[in-house]
Symmetry: C2
Subunit: 433 residues, 2 copies
């Protein structure tokens, strides 16, 4: 049974802390394995990729090739369900339109002293996109990662995806083509991350790597961080639903299950001020579970990590939501908008009963790559800014240097950095004034 909490009970504080602290990810110690794989790819390049892929994916890259050919990609489109392809096109257009609004402005101004200041945004030159294999190979995630990179102006988008037993998801290839991915390689795991970060004979290195992956991929990304940029380390997905007594229990149950079906470590939580709704949701969820293809996964997630929290009024949900810092927050209650303004820690907020989270996963337009495991306290969903960087610009003239220089000299000396001080003082003596 999922956890059932009530803020009126004396043990609520401790129970809520336990919920917050629940460790949902098994901490496999894969770090040594990953270190070794990366070292081999760095040392040997392609041959190490071929060897690891034979071992982990049972695929002979020497035979079928490291890179997925343009012909294969085009052929994949023909294998896709036309309805799914059309849906992908709609999703892509909406994602592009939303992300174009994130394109940042440069800044340049001259201050009262005559100093020119500002910054300039530029795109990252080359980005790697990791796509997991098997059932976690989602075409929608290809769009969500590649489209913002393209909007940012990234010139080279390189996708890697393992092809266990030679199989690649045709809809993933179609999504890559649609989103403008430039190169696709059939490799995965730590070896793919190493190839993207360090390059091999065949694969030119990239400057940043994004996309979700298993424990090996996560450990590899952590290891190459610094050599290249990485996005967040993705954890299991989660939803928090805040609902009042007028919300539809069947819809809420469906949304809780949509999250739970991702992964046995996913987390679905309902907060409500209506005990009757809590009961109705719990019952509807059991009903719906029975007919769900992924019912084993969803049932395990709901049983082990699910929770229903009853509060006295929805205002009490605000501090709880801020501490939970959920990846997805749905609010189905009167005054949803006003309530949402009080919630600062959430990856994305879905307002009202007609905004199931799945709309955001696919066709809303906003990004579905969002901070998990309470990291919405300090990080944001993927955006165009993740594929750009800014350079600050500073320009003094002789007059402004005369005004600012002495303070720089004083601070350089105070910090024991005399060459810093001198680099300014020299100009004050000779050039300026």
């Amino acid at each position: 049974m999922p956890l059932r909490l009530d803020t009126r009970r004396a043990d609520f504080g401790a129970a809520f802390e336990a919920l917050l602290g629940a460790k949902r990810e098994s901490a496999d110690d894969v770090d040594e394995v990953v270190r070794k794989i990366i070292a081999e790819v760095v040392a040997e390049g392609d041959p190490a990729l071929v060897r690891a892929t034979k071992k982990f994916d049972r695929v002979d890259l020497d035979r079928i090739g490291l890179r997925v050919s343009a012909g294969e990609i085009d052929a994949a489109g023909d294998l896709c369900d036309p309805e799914a392809l059309d849906a992908l096109k709609l999703a892509h257009a909406r994602i592009v339109a939303f992300h174009k609004r994130q394109y940042p402005q440069d800044e340049r101004f001259t201050d009262a002293l005559g100093v020119e200041l500002g910054w300039r945004w530029t795109s990252i030159e080359a980005v790697g996109l990791y796509v997991p294999g098997g059932t976690a190979s989602y075409p929608s995630s290809v769009l969500m990662n590649a489209a913002p990179a393209k909007v940012a102006g990234v010139e080279r988008i390189v996708m890697v995806a393992p092809a266990p037993d030679g199989k690649l998801n045709p809809l993933v290839l179609a999504a890559a083509k649609l989103a403008g991915v430039d190169e696709i390689y059939r490799i995965g795991g730590a070896q793919a991350i190493a190839a993207l970060a360090y390059g091999t004979q065949t694969i030119q290195p990239v400057a940043k790597i994004v996309g979700p992956g298993n424990a090996y991929v996560a450990a590899a990304k952590r290891r190459v961080f610094g050599k290249v940029g990485i996005d967040m380390i993705a954890g299991p997905s989660e939803v928090l639903i805040i609902a009042d007594g007028d919300a539809n229990p069947s819809w809420i149950a469906a949304d809780l299950l949509a999250q739970a079906e991702h992964d046995a470590a996913a987390q679905s939580i309902l907060i409500t001020d209506a005990p009757a709704l809590a009961d109705a949701v719990a019952a509807a969820l059991e009903d719906q579970l029975a007919s769900l293809p992924r019912r084993e996964i969803a049932a395990a997630s709901w049983r082990d990590f699910g929770a229903i929290i009853v509060v006295q009024n929805l205002q009490d949900s605000v501090p709880l939501a801020n501490r939970l810092a959920a990846e997805h927050l749905e609010i189905m209650a009167a005054g949803a908008e006003e309530l949402s303004y009080q919630i600062r820690n959430a990856g994305a907020i879905f307002l009202g009963g007609f905004t199931p989270e799945a709309i955001g996963d696919y066709v809303g337009g906003s990004n579905h790559v969002l901070p998990t495991a309470r990291s919405a306290r300090f990080s944001s969903g993927l955006s165009v800014l993740d594929f750009m960087k800014k350079t600050s610009i500073l320009k003094c003239g002789p007059d402004s240097l005369v005004v600012l220089g002495p303070a720089a000299v004083a601070l350089g000396r105070a910090e024991g950095l005399d060459a810093h001080a001198r680099s300014v003082a020299l100009r004050l003596e000779k050039g300026a004034s």
Copy 2:
């Protein structure tokens, strides 16, 4: 002797690759030590901090207290050179003014289908700021880290700084007070990072940790990444100067040395189209070195990692600068501005002879926490955005769900996520239309 390269020589390509690949940081394997320290702080809290601090800093925190008192902070101000204090105030005011321009705008719009979309920025609630001890304890860095956090609206800024043998830099404390730091603890190393990330009996945890540190601090930040946010892993500082024959060789030499004096692993590089300038700079640098207090450090840096590259014309410097992706780039040449527009990979650009990099270190107003070790290819200097995060907002009504819903259902099914599809389909059946 520093490296001397010339693009006209046949071996230039290989020599430039070697320069790019030069490993400037010793890769001390401190990871196991750090893992153990973090585990102890997590398990015990304060007692582990006291023990580690006694061992590494020779300070008894049980006697003098973990937290630096308000009285100590006030008293520190009286110990500071008034000229340095005034300079700090000028720097602070300029940093705040510059960073206020980075405060981001929220977005909210309704698209043609009637879907409401947007995002909302909020500050991170609590941030930890690491300040190194000893000679690398820079008051200017306190301002550069704390001021943007304050501008972002961070409610709680917690500083940690080791006090080796009980000594804290008074100007660092004064800078912390000026910048609005809320709590200061006299701890450093991996134990301080662990305390900030996990909390102890005395120290409440923070959501993000910023600031430079030694190999132990860097390894600890990498380990706690995910539990909390971190900024970049700072490496040794570097400057690239692009200059034409009219630039002042003495000023260039001074700027190269200002970078070199930071650290024996710092890197200073000059690119010029004027062989005579190259010679004049090399000579001026040797002259200036002799009278520099930190001449041993600066000489080692220049000898081991310094380089002068002669190109045929300054246009040739552009691809080299983009590959070097320097933390600091000075351009002292006719057409500096135009040249700068072609350079995408640089932490900060300093235009013209009257903008020594040291101005940017202290009083320019832009941030001096900048990407090192070629990471300007994928990351930016510290900014207000590093202390904020955004939440995306999505709101459909019954009518827009009817339009978008079928595509979401199709994609959910195509991805094998039937509960996703059902969460939308249920609403299409009953509520919408």
